[in-house]
Every structure is written in C-alpha cells, then in structure tokens.
C-alpha cells in the first residue's frame, strides 16, 4: 500500500508497510497512478503511451526502472506482513497510571471533558494519600519486568490536592528502593492557577514532564479558560508558566491548548505561544458534542486542514529564522520512532495504562472515567476485571476494520479508544473526524521532514 500526496510544493510518497518516505518528481507521481505490482521486466507499452503525452519516452523508461528497483528493495509497494504480530496483542504488564488526585477544579473552562472536574459524576472529590498509596503499590505489583513506571497527576486540577501529590511522590521514591530496577516517572497536568515558587520547584525537581494548559492568544484563552465568575486566566498563568519553564531549562514540558470552532486560525495561537518563548507546544482539537457552539464538525474540516498546512509552513519559516519550536502533533521521527509492535497496539489504555479516581475506581484511561460499563474494579480489591482488560489489550490496528487498510495506521495506531467509544459507542470503530485530522497532521509532519531533507540536499 502506498499513499501519495502533494503539499507545499513537494510530491510525497509513503510506502505504508516499510515506512519508506520518498520524494518524487511529477513523472513518478503520475506513473504511480498507473503501475502496480507485480512488475513486468519492461515498462508496458500502454503505460508509455499514456504518459508520453506529457513526458519524454526515455524519461518514462528510466522512471519505471527506479520504481521497479524500489519495489524489489521492498520499500515501495511492500507487503503487509504484520497481521501475524497482531496476535501478540494480549494483556501486558501495567506501566502507566493516571491518578485523578482531585475530581474538582478551580476553573470552569467551557469545553472541559472532565465537566469541570466531576467527570459526569455528581460529587467533587479529593484523593486521599491512602488511596493514592494503594494505587502506586498496585502499579508496582502489576508492572512485571517494566522498569519505568509513569504516573501522571491529573484532575480536575491536581494542584488543589498538592500535599497528597507531594506525599505520593515521596512514597513512590521510597518504594523504588525495594526493587533493583524500578523507577517512577511522575508527570503533572495543571491549569497553572495555584502555581507558586514552592510548587514550581517541587515539580521541576520531581516531575519528568509537565503539561501546562493554555490556549494561546489572550483573547482565545480567556474566552474558554475562565474562572467560576467568568473572568479570564491568561494574565495570571502566563508569567507563572514562563518562570517554571525557565527554571527547568526548557526541558520536558508542553504548553498545551485546545482549539475549537472559535479559533480555527489556531496557528496564531501556536505562534503566540512561540513568541512568548515556549518551545514545546501542543494544540488539540476539542472533544465535544456537536450541539455545542464551539464543537468541531465535519464542515470545519477544510478550514482545519488548511490551518494545519499554514502551521506546518510557519514552522519551517521559524526554523529558517533560527526560532525553532516543536508542535507536538508534527513531531515524528522517520527512522527511530517506536517499533512496529508498539504501533500496532496503539495507546495501550485499559491494558498497560489505567486511570484511578479519588474513590479508587479503576478505568481504562482518564477519558473513560465515569463510564460504568468500563469500570475495571477498585484499588482496594487489588485486582482488575480481566475481561475488560483483554478487550482493550486485543484492540489493535488489525482488530479495527477501518484501520487495517488505512495508510496512516502505523502512525496513528488505531486512534483514541475513548473517542471511538464516545462518538461511535465502540472502541473498535474509529471516529471519522479524528481520523481525518490525524491523517492531515501526518501529511504535514512528513512534509516538514521532506522539506528539511530537500533543503539539506541542496546544501550538499
């Protein structure tokens, strides 16, 4: 399977099953519409005839030879040999946990999927140290030979329960010593309101990553990210974020925003954050029911597509000016990325990753919290429902009909199970809008790499 597209003046061909990325000329681009394996020794006359209306015969012949050569090297039209590996998509040790240390929030962001900290549940709650401690023990006990254990403090707003966060980090560190090779990687996601010097320093010392929520331009942020009284938050958080990032030497963080129908020109938000000095930036499409005025619908797709293209071009321009920054969804390593096995399995929610609520209830991930059908058990019971676990463990790109034949499958890995469930009622049924966005982002990400490669070649 190949996928070819034109973007920003480049003709790009992705060979799906080898991961090969090729930059091709117009002739090859057209040739690929007309040829398919198996390849005949000589270019068939009908193809020559068809293409010779636009191209020189000798060129056509040499192009055919090149296509054939790459096919023989298995980097063009390479076979799908992966389905057998999908069988290994079974329950694996636990290695990541999302701790909802609060189900309460000090803000009322209009689009919050956690429904202002309540996750569709009525009561606002804080996790006790006892429950958190049991959760960490549970993770340790079920982590098999995994060495790096990720724990994300999430909410609601986790800084509202920061004492427990601190105690849990200390507890985790003390438990590491009981094992030869286990190490916690703590991370935190915050809205910034409660950040002060003490918390900043603690976070920078103990957390291997920190996600700072902010939507970009002040007016955009303040429209959605508001206090209970409706006032905006930008001015309060921006300086705190700068300070925190400065103090951690710009390492291992994201400023993360959400874009909605109200800021389909979100490139300006990303650039605004870059101008403020941030180098690791993420902007996510909002997850919301279509009835909301800010929801993204199919009709917004063309606008979002061209915006992603504009953003990709802006990134290339910034790079040239020596003002490099990363956009999370365009980051892709075409050589050293995750192995194919990982790509087959996807996000590992409900299998290697679970979320735990303040009551100790276990869900496949933070976005499933409150979905009774997928409550996997409680930390106090010390075990999780193996049927649910197996169902999630078996979810992979070959178990999802739409994904099997999708060109993006090794980059997207079958999408977000939670989105699939929310929109289609089935974790195996990808949500079409997410698919379209993901595919566009990948085209942009690959184009950026292609542009850099083309540039390097010119310099040689």
């Amino acid at each position: 399977m190949i996928h070819k597209y034109k973007l920003n003046g480049y003709n790009i061909v992705l060979d799906v099953h080898s991961g090969g990325v090729h930059l091709v000329d117009e002739l090859t681009y057209d040739m690929l519409d007309n040829v398919n394996p198996p390849f005949e020794e000589k270019c068939p006359e009908n193809i020559i005839e068809k293409l010779s209306r636009f191209y020189d015969r000798d060129e056509i012949l040499s192009c055919y030879e090149e296509v054939k050569e790459l096919y023989n090297e298995h980097i063009l039209f390479s076979d799908d040999t992966y389905e057998k590996f999908a069988k290994y998509s079974v329950a694996a040790p636990l290695k990541s946990m999302c701790l909802l240390v609060t189900m309460d929030c000090n803000l009322r962001c209009r689009y919050c999927f956690a429904e202002t900290g309540e996750y569709g549940m009525k009561k606002r709650k804080l996790m006790s140290f006892e429950t958190g401690k049991r959760a960490l023990d549970f993770l340790l006990e079920n982590s098999g030979d995994r060495e790096n254990l990720e724990v994300d403090f999430f909410g609601g707003e986790p800084l509202m329960n920061f004492d427990v966060v601190k105690q849990l980090v200390m507890y985790g560190r003390s438990r590491e010593k009981d094992y030869i090779n286990k190490h916690f990687r703590f991370t935190v996601t915050t809205n910034g309101i409660l950040l002060d010097d003490e918390k900043t320093d603690f976070i920078n010392r103990e957390m291997s990553n920190v996600v700072l929520s902010i939507d970009g331009r002040k007016e955009v942020n303040d429209r959605m990210r508001t206090h209970i009284n409706g006032s905006g938050t930008y001015d309060e958080i921006i300086e705190k974020y700068k300070k925190l990032v400065e103090k951690r030497k710009h390492q291992n963080y994201y400023v993360r925003g959400t874009f909605t129908k109200h800021n389909l020109d979100f490139t300006n938000d990303v650039l605004s954050l870059a101008e403020q000095g941030f180098k690791e930036i993420s902007a996510e499409p909002v997850v919301a029911p279509a009835k909301e005025d800010y929801a993204l619908t199919e009709r917004d797709l063309p606008a979002i597509f061209s915006e992603y293209e504009r953003l990709a071009q802006a990134i290339l321009v910034s790079d040239k000016q020596g003002k490099h920054f990363n956009f999370f969804h365009f980051m892709i390593d075409l050589d050293q990325g995750p192995c194919a096995i990982k790509r087959l399995r996807g996000c590992s929610s409900g299998n290697e990753y679970v979320a735990v609520t303040p009551d100790g209830d276990i869900y496949p991930c933070h976005q499933f919290v409150g979905v009774e059908k997928y409550r996997m058990g409680n930390i106090a019971e010390g075990k999780i429902n193996s049927d649910i676990r197996n169902e999630f463990a078996a979810a992979n790109i070959y178990s999802k009909d739409d994904c099997k034949n999708c060109w993006a499958k090794f980059y997207c890995s079958g999408g977000c199970n939670a989105n699939n469930y929310t929109y289609n009622g089935d974790i195996h049924s990808p949500y079409k809008i997410s698919c379209e966005l993901e595919k566009k982002r990948l085209e942009c990400a690959i184009m950026i790499k292609a542009a850099i490669a083309a540039e390097e070649q010119q310099e040689d």
């Binding site: 990325v21 980097i75 040999t81 992966y82 991370t187 999370f328 977000c416």
Partner: protein
C-alpha cells in the same frame, strides 16, 4: 536515482522483529491527553 529520492531508512519491518519490549511510554499519558499519535514517541530500547 533521478526521479525518486528516499529520505529515510524505511526500516519499519526490522523493528517488528526486534521490537515489542514495552519500555516506552504509554501513548497519550503524559503529553496531550486527548488524542493519540503513537508515531511521535521515542523508542527506549537502547539494546
């Protein structure tokens, strides 16, 4: 080659044979939290 330039190693198949060690991070856990792009993660198997 004159018409085609391959810009990467195209080594996905090799990674299937050696891969699957499970050291790497779970997908959307510590980054974006609302969507999944597995391909932008790092392989952590140094062996």
């Amino acid at each position: 080659m004159k018409h085609i330039r391959t810009i990467n190693k195209a080594n996905l198949k090799q990674t299937a044979i050696k891969g699957g060690c499970g050291r790497c991070q779970a997908s959307c856990q510590s980054a974006c939290k609302t969507s999944c792009t597995v391909a932008n993660q790092k392989c952590e198997n140094s062996k």
